[in-house]
Subunit: 128 residues, 2 copies
């Protein structure tokens, strides 16, 4: 599947939490591993590690995007708890007919943790 056709969860692997021990792996790397595990061999979701998503003061961070939809950036994620929510959110967005991640059914953490969203490339706001 081409990059332009797939649904991706991009996990910032450089995010460091204030609670991270100096000698431990950073939270972003742990979240990236957990998200890869949560996706498993799913053919519909691609998990990508990136450095960095620029949300350094409010990490750990991840973004979700799929063709013809808004891109969502989330922060303040829990590296050990929120990987499943990212995968579920990615599937919700991929199935959304209007390109918006639906509120109903959205994992609670993805309701609270929104950092920003960006519209699809051909988006034009209505009623201007």
């Amino acid at each position: 599947m081409e990059p332009t056709e797939r649904t991706s969860v991009l996990v910032c692997m450089t995010c460091r939490s204030a609670l991270d021990r100096v000698d431990a792996r950073c939270s972003g790397a742990v979240l990236a591993d957990a998200t890869c595990s949560a996706a498993g061999d799913a053919p519909d979701i691609c998990v990508q590690r990136v450095r960095c998503l620029g949300n350094c003061t409010r990490g750990p961070s991840a973004a979700i995007r799929t063709p013809n939809a808004w891109t969502y950036v989330f922060g303040g994620l829990d590296p050990t708890c929120d990987a499943d929510a990212l995968i579920a959110g990615a599937r919700l967005l991929a199935a959304a007919p209007d390109g918006l991640m639906p509120w109903r059914g959205r994992p609670e953490i993805l309701k609270r943790a929104l950092i920003a969203r960006v519209p699809p490339i051909d988006f034009v706001e209505s009623d201007l």
Copy 2:
């Protein structure tokens, strides 16, 4: 020019600042107007009004994107001062050979005000 080929500044026109008077236009709408004025008739930059970029607690907000480059979201902008910086940042990004907005020459506000950034669609992190 097709949407997939142009450099865009997307301004959130629903951002409201704590300093906005109840009976006044919201800061986001003022920033959107100022950014359109700053762009003028420039053929290389498209200013788009959107509602909303999801950065509601740290607005006013704007995003900059161009083909084959990272998308940048900025917040805490000044609606009356920062429009020129957004246009300058958009041109810097459009000219960047590596798809990253260069630090050198970047308007100061776009150094301080980064909210998040998302890589281009075909991005693959190196050295993983």
